[in-house]
């Protein structure tokens, strides 16, 4: 019997009843799988605690100095002195939290300032800030596409996009990952007069591959009544002359109706947003439930975000160094014989594909013991049922750190037999 069942309320699930079922029973296979894995003596990849965080690239885990290669801190803004100072000032002047919705008492001067910073950063007429990136997708997709409308999404879309679909009343149609032909075909089979929202991502976060947006946009524009939303969560800061994302780098800015993004990656704090030039966009503030029915971000958070966004407008040198880091790590790991998620470096994410859970956990732990933290990712988060170690680089990783990282992968990969 599992521990969960043993501690359940006796009146409802009497211990003497054999195979007693309750609402947790459906998780028994997962509980058993985890228990079996942890029984082999490995550390739990999903229970890491950072005891100290020294910089965007260094932390202390169980007393060991560790290089961080599994954060979304692409531009290293978390410890930027201007960003931290802005947060402290707002904390002093406006307090710890707003205790209210954006549409009631939860919009402070700082929330307007961060929306102004976003409008400048993206060159759009509107910007709407949500409490998380997850809520931004949840809110935009479920509110834009209503009953009788269609949402067309990539099969490898992030969970927040899928959940936005499930929260709404629209019909949901999937196409094969990054397949322009599949997207075109499916749009062609839908009623021409139905209103459609096509949801794409600039960078797909598991393998770090980039969407062929110009081809996809051209396919969408062959069909009537389509609007396009691009999630640039992993593209903001790094791609395009102004750091707006993959859609800017690939030159399709005029064809995209909505950009969704997050403050929890390159911006270095937490929060989500949507920017748009649609003339009626502001009505979303009244009709979007994940915007209305939740507390707004704390004043310190919006102050750090606004400062960070303004600094990211002029971060060309950081972008160049991050790109160099990505290219070096991709080449280093390829030369060592690892199988990577993309043949060429496409983003700040480099995914090492492994054969199974045991091998993935073994190398993950070996790296941790050497002083390197990476993300371990497993199904259902990963495409095609793969187990992978996801490395995400930071503009603050030094050349020396990248050399060290490649050395640690060599040692760990050989120790567990993942490479020869």
């Amino acid at each position: 019997m599992t521990e969960a069942a043993a501690t359940a309320h006796n009146a409802r699930t009497p211990a003497e009843v054999l195979d007693a079922r309750d609402l947790f029973s459906k998780f028994d296979p997962l509980i058993a799988e985890r228990e079996a894995l942890l029984a082999t003596g490995v550390r739990d990849p999903f229970a890491i605690v950072m005891d100290e965080v020294k910089s965007p690239t260094q932390a202390v885990i169980k007393g060991k100095d560790t290089i961080l290669l599994g954060t979304y801190n692409y531009m290293g803004m978390t410890f930027d002195p201007d960003v931290v100072a802005a947060g402290k000032k707002a904390l002093d002047e406006f307090g710890a939290g707003t205790t209210g919705s954006r549409v009631l008492n939860g919009t402070y001067q700082g929330h307007k300032e961060v929306e102004d910073a976003l409008k400048e950063f993206y060159g759009t007429s509107s910007a709407m800030v949500f409490s998380t990136g997850y809520q931004a997708n949840l809110g935009m997709i479920s509110t834009l596409a209503g009953k009788g409308d269609y949402v067309i999404l990539d099969a490898d879309s992030h969970a927040s996009i899928y959940d936005g679909c499930f929260l709404g009343d629209a019909e949901i149609v999937r196409f094969r990952h990054n397949s322009v032909e599949d997207l075109d075909k499916r749009l062609g089979r839908l009623p021409a007069d139905a209103l459609k929202l096509v949801v794409l991502e600039g960078v797909y976060s598991m393998l770090g591959d980039v969407a062929p947006l110009p081809d996809m946009v051209a396919a969408v524009r062959k069909h009537a009544n389509c609007m396009i939303l691009v999630d640039e969560a992993h593209g903001m800061g790094f791609f395009g002359p102004n750091g707006r994302g993959v859609y800017e780098e690939q030159g399709v800015e005029k064809d995209v109706d909505f950009i969704v993004g997050t403050f929890s990656k390159s911006v270095g704090t937490v929060g989500g947003f949507c920017v748009s030039n649609h003339p009626k966009f502001e009505v979303m503030r009244l009709v979007c439930r994940p915007y209305v029915f939740t507390a707004s971000l704390p004043p310190s958070v919006v102050a750090t975000a606004a400062t960070s966004i303004r600094k990211l407008m002029h971060a060309g040198e950081k972008r160049a160094h991050l790109w160099k880091n990505s290219q070096r790590l991709h080449k280093g790991l390829t030369d060592l014989g690892f199988t990577l998620g993309t043949k060429t470096p496409q983003s700040a994410i480099i995914a090492v594909i492994l054969t199974d859970q045991m091998q993935a956990v073994a190398i993950w732990q070996a790296l941790l013991e050497l002083g390197l933290y990476v993300n371990m990712a497993r199904p259902p988060a990963t495409p095609a049922g793969t187990f992978l170690l996801r490395c995400s680089l930071c503009a603050e990783h030094s050349d020396e750190q990248v050399t060290q990282i490649i050395g640690m992968f060599e040692a760990a990969g050989k120790a567990v037999g993942a490479i020869a």
Binding site: Y150, A155, C165, E171, I172, V173, R174, F175, R176, D182, K185, R186, R189, L190, P379, P380, P383, A384, G385
Partner: protein, 81 residues
């Protein structure tokens, strides 16, 4: 042969490459229970069926389809609309 029988035969032909355990297919064979398909297999299979019949089976519809017979009925209905 009826239209429905034709559709049934085409559907079972499409199932074949995904039927790793070579389960005998009837109207009541279930995708999750009998064929033990995971969500990724379902995704690939649905795409194959959509392309075969030139239709769209939305995720909303997929949630209601559990057996081969239900899928054949759904395809028959979608082909006429």
């Amino acid at each position: 042969m009826t239209d429905r029988q034709n559709i049934f035969d085409s559907v079972t032909a499409q199932i074949a490459p995904f039927n790793k355990k070579e389960i005998a297919l009837t109207e009541t064979t279930t995708f999750a229970g009998d064929l033990e398909w995971d969500s990724l297999t379902v995704m690939d299979f649905v795409a194959a069926i959509e392309d075969e019949f030139d239709i769209i089976i939305t995720m909303n519809m997929q949630a209601e389809i559990e057996t081969v017979g239900q899928l054949v009925d759904a395809v028959a209905k979608l082909k006429t609309t």
